[in-house]
């Protein structure tokens, strides 16, 4: 009898334990996250303040509802800054260096560190470089396959500037929009992708 009572009490306690668990709210979690990070070098805690795009992508598993996706893509495309002087392509050799370089915007970098694009971290680009990642699609023969029409130039520029213009919640950084690469650097990466003389197109 006593044993039964004790067991019942224990079962009730377990049930109560389950029933009283309420998952932390979004706000509670954000408060814990904020208290768990600190400024270091150029990487300040204000980087935890999400943009609307970052918030929506985080909350929807990078798959926002169709209408939201369309709105985000439209806004991203509208904010793309195209080259004012109409000069699209720079030097593919400098583009290759930018594609190979991964520094920039980490707390281990300085404010005046010129950031790279680190394209090879995620993409295949040339036959010569076998150490490439696979998070993004292969870009080998990018220009050879697509040509270098005005449309392709505009598309490629916009894609580099803010990838969300065509694929909201893509994994790729907003190289122009977030100020990672300068306009001049984007011209060089454009040349790496589109110049027929670039090793990408050989």
């Amino acid at each position: 009898m006593n044993k039964t009572l004790a067991l019942t009490a224990a079962a009730a306690a377990v049930l109560a334990g389950c029933a009283t668990y309420t998952p932390p709210t979004q706000e509670e979690t954000m408060a814990v996250i904020r208290s768990s990070f600190q400024d270091r070098g150029i990487a300040k805690v204000d980087r935890l303040n999400q943009t609307e795009l970052q918030r929506i992508c985080s909350e929807t598993g990078n798959d926002p509802p169709k209408d939201v996706r369309a709105r985000l893509e439209k806004a991203a495309l509208a904010a793309v800054k195209f080259p004012a002087d109409g000069k699209w392509l720079g030097d593919h050799k400098q583009g290759e260096r930018i594609a190979q370089t991964g520094v920039g915007m980490q707390w281990s970098d300085r404010a005046d560190t010129v950031a790279g694009g680190n394209c090879y971290a995620c993409h295949q680009l040339t036959k010569a470089e076998i150490s490439y990642g696979n998070i993004g699609p292969s870009l080998l023969h990018y220009g050879k396959l697509r040509g270098s029409s005005d449309e392709i130039r505009r598309y490629t520029w916009a894609k580099l500037w803010n990838t969300n213009a065509f694929n909201a919640c893509s994994s790729m950084p907003r190289f122009g929009d977030a100020g990672i690469l300068t306009e001049e650097q984007i011209r060089h990466v454009m040349a790496l992708l589109l110049d027929p003389e670039s090793p990408v197109n050989k």
């Binding site: 932390p24 768990s36 990070f37 980087r47 992508c57 281990s108």
Partner: protein, 277 residues
């Protein structure tokens, strides 16, 4: 000393062999072969792990009378009761009733060094990680000793206490949170199968097998840095590359994230300290 010399020699041989193989791979331009060769390089590394020396130093530190209270860490309760080290790391992070908090191993270690030995907390957490090629910190040595005592034990991060579940749930939200100038979340790299940065494989923490393999092999000796690296270091260096601000050492957020990863790795077998590139 001779043992160390032989180890270093073998490491150089392994590196040279790996380089030669990598060069052969470049000529052949075969991606799969390159990956195979890197796998062989990793296998060769398993031969002699410098972390073994750190296990010895960690054990000495664990049993030494130290700090203002001149006490050892032998009565430190790391989850299975005071003095029980065997298998304890495989069940961390967990809730500790005495502080009513979820703690990972490194947080609990600092707690014991403060309460049992009387060390100053602020001094302990100021520089927990050694620089490349520098002498390992006490925290690194002690962690290496304790995690080695869990080799072969099943990873079972408990989810019984409400605070353990809350830690997991917050950790999950942190894992998927995109922020910073590069828009990266942990899941950007660690949420898809068979992804690589350059040639480095990235474990997908949404799947049990890769999550288990990754969780089981930290802490690890990193050959490229010549240093033993703990799980707190691993989390710290991920956020650096994510372009986030720095996670505070043993902060709640880092413990939450490690809890989430540990629950994903449930059922794996600890195999640490491992050796990595």
């Amino acid at each position: 000393m001779r043992v160390t010399g032989n180890r270093a020699g073998r490491r150089h041989l392994a590196l040279a062999a790996a380089l030669a193989l990598a060069t052969a791979g470049a000529a052949a331009q075969e991606k799969d072969r390159t990956i195979e060769e890197i796998e062989r390089y990793r296998q060769m590394l398993q031969d002699g792990n410098p972390a073994e020396l750190l296990v010895v130093r960690g054990e000495e530190l664990w049993k030494a009378r130290r700090g203002p209270k001149n006490a050892t860490l032998e009565q430190c309760d790391i989850g299975l009761g005071p003095g029980v080290v065997k298998g304890a790391y495989a069940q961390l992070p967990r809730h500790f009733a005495d502080v009513d908090q979820v703690m990972d191993f490194e947080a609990r270690l600092v707690h014991c060094m403060v309460t049992l030995q009387g060390f100053d907390r602020a001094a302990l957490v100021k520089s927990p990680f050694s620089g490349a090629g520098q002498r390992p910190t006490d925290i690194e040595a002690l962690t290496t000793f304790v995690v080695e005592q869990s080799r072969g034990f099943t990873i079972r991060v408990p989810q019984n206490h409400p605070k353990e579940r809350a830690a997991h749930d917050r950790g999950k939200q942190l894992f998927y949170m995109r922020a910073g100038p590069y828009d990266f979340a942990c899941s950007t790299c660690h949420g898809v199968d068979d992804q690589r940065i350059r040639l480095q494989d990235l474990p997908n923490f949404e799947k049990a097998a890769p999550a288990q393999r990754a969780f089981a092999t930290w802490p690890a000796y990193r050959v490229s840095q010549g240093a033993l690296r703990t799980m707190q270091w691993r989390i710290n260096d991920c956020f650096r590359q994510q372009r986030w601000p720095e996670p505070v050492f043993i902060s709640q957020g880092t413990i939450d994230l490690i809890t989430f990863l540990g629950v994903k790795a449930d059922g794996g077998k600890m195999d640490s300290p491992a050796i990595k590139r």
